[in-house]
Subunit: 306 residues, 2 copies
DNA sequence: TGAGGGCATAAGCTGGTCTTATGAGTGGAG
DNA sequence: CTCCACTCATAAGACCAGCTTATGCCCTCA
């Protein structure tokens, strides 16, 4: 673990970033153009909204809204802050959708079983979209590996499943909903990040890599593509640990592009193109043979395809 | 027990999602494998951590950690929740990096001026990366349109600028750091989302679209590509408003792909391919002619290129 | 069997956020 | 010209969530 951040001082993120309630309020102010209207929309009193926005401005050290007797408009800085805030709120909405599905284990109208990677990176978004279209659909989520997903479906304890393996478990029908690609990534400072041409597969096979443990889906795909030759530099048991290790510069890692999309955007990791090798795998929706998804399950399924 | 909050639609994210401090604590527990160690890392007492995690579990209705006399491990659900939480914390880190740059207007080691789109979508990530490499660099940010950026640079009130126009303001040198593409998007329910082939440019020109106002950079590029023919269905003055309108299904919109990356991932919007038309524009770093970026500015510049 | 790490409970303090009640400025309608 | 409707700000008190310190129980290991 590369940690090594931990700046002491009067506090961390939570003290420098306004809490969710304040951010939501700010978005409401941006939308309505008035503190009072925003307060009404959020169900609090006008003085509460006024004071909350003011203390947020004090906390950030920046004026966010221009108050006038006929309304409030965002300042330039306020518009920027509002956009950044929206990012946080959206992440919180995805969290909420996921957490709610996790809580309602039983007696839901739609019971979903999904593999970890899909549950981590894709499902919250789908659940948000589903909630937008059908606000009253209670969804329950169970996360596990492919065999666990299959068991649930076959025992009729789940209506729809999502798996990412190379094969479809017996007794299930499936539809490919997307392709996932394993990609090679390094920290931006790594020599490979400055290469000109793409990496040859042979070179990848002879370089020690940060990898998931043997037996993991990711590792299986990689080993198959390389012919069982992958040389581990370190073996770690979670995607997150592999990412953290790669970000800290320990070496090149091989990960699902779903898992590193964020890090690539932030340039914490850099993608290294590879020639002569295809590291794709299908992401599939699955259901009991003969039990085509209907109702909410069908709805969710249709959301997962472009 | 509060029951009235439950039925309000958009009402209460903040009550259903743990606050940032709790989420950070959860990440620390995941990292360290112990409540006490996590408490130490976050600078609070062990009972505080214990109670906070417990109340988070109560709030979410899910057990997150398995406590044992020799440490605490995440449950399966806890691992999932932790990953979703990490998304929120990362958004908060970007917010913090941006807000800090916004606050330190003067006397910073690195003064950046950037156009709105870049400041909104790209800069926070760059600032995070810069902070990772050079923790002590104080950065100040000023957001405005291309001419404002140019003014700041020419008045030596900024060290490095970022613009997205079609042309480079006089007196400035530039380097292209990325390409931005305008894309056509609709809500998933729109008829265009079910088209088979790509859209013809002519069809785009004759369909009323949700657009930014005339004079905006986005609109200029679109009008140029269509030959001034774009027909507005509505004209709105912010990217956010256009997005919201398109998401709600009002019609097709044309937006920077930077602006809708999130929405495409969540399937709130769908990209409609278009033939016979290129809607690209360069994103450029700019600086005063003859004043090549050095020091922190050079560092930041190098981060912006893959 | 004692030491030490790990977690839980109890009691009291503090701070932030809410509420209601009120004041003060602006602009349009009668 | 006055009244009213709307905006936001201020003040005083209630309340709750989180923190701390002090303590106890459980388990493992030497």
């Amino acid at each position: 673990m590369s940690g090594a951040e931990e700046r002491r001082g009067p506090g961390s993120l939570a003290h420098r970033v306004p809490d969710l309630g304040a951010l939501e309020l700010l978005l409401a102010v941006a939308r309505t153009g008035s503190l009072g209207a925003a307060a009404r929309e959020r169900g609090v009193s006008q003085p509460a909204a006024s004071s909350r926005i003011r203390s947020m401005e004090r906390q950030l050290g920046v004026a966010l809204v221009d108050r006038s007797p006929r309304g409030s408009r965002l300042t330039d800085a306020g518009a920027l802050v509002t956009d950044w805030a929206r990012r946080i709120v959206e992440a919180a909405e995805a969290f909420d959708a996921g957490a709610q599905a996790l809580r309602d284990r039983r007696d839901s109208r739609l019971r979903v079983a999904a593999s970890m990677t899909i549950a981590e990176y894709l499902l919250p978004g789908w659940l948000l979209a589903l909630r937008a279209g059908r606000p009253d659909t209670a969804v329950s989520l169970l996360a596990g590996n492919s065999t666990a997903v299959a068991e649930r479906l076959l025992a009729d304890e789940a209506d729809l499943g999502f798996v990412e393996g190379l094969t479809v478990p017996a007794g299930l029908d499936s539809a490919v909903i997307a392709q996932d690609h394993l990609i090679v990534v390094t920290a931006p400072g790594h020599p490979w990040a400055r290469r000109r041409g793409p990496l040859a597969a042979a070179e990848l096979a002879t370089t020690p890599l940060i990898l998931r443990e043997r037996g993991s889906g990711t590792r299986q795909v990689l080993d198959a593509a390389l012919g069982g030759l992958a040389r581990p530099l370190i073996e770690l048991s979670s995607t997150t640990a592999v990412k953290a290790s790669a970000v800290s510069g320990a070496g090149p890692a091989v990960l699902s592009e779903l898992a590193v999309r964020e890090e690539l955007g932030l340039r914490r990791l850099v993608r290294i193109p590879v020639r002569d090798m295809s590291l794709g795998r299908d992401l599939r929706a699955v259901w009991r043979t003969g039990h085509r998804p209907t109702g909410p399950a069908r709805e969710l399924l249709s959301l997962t395809r472009g």
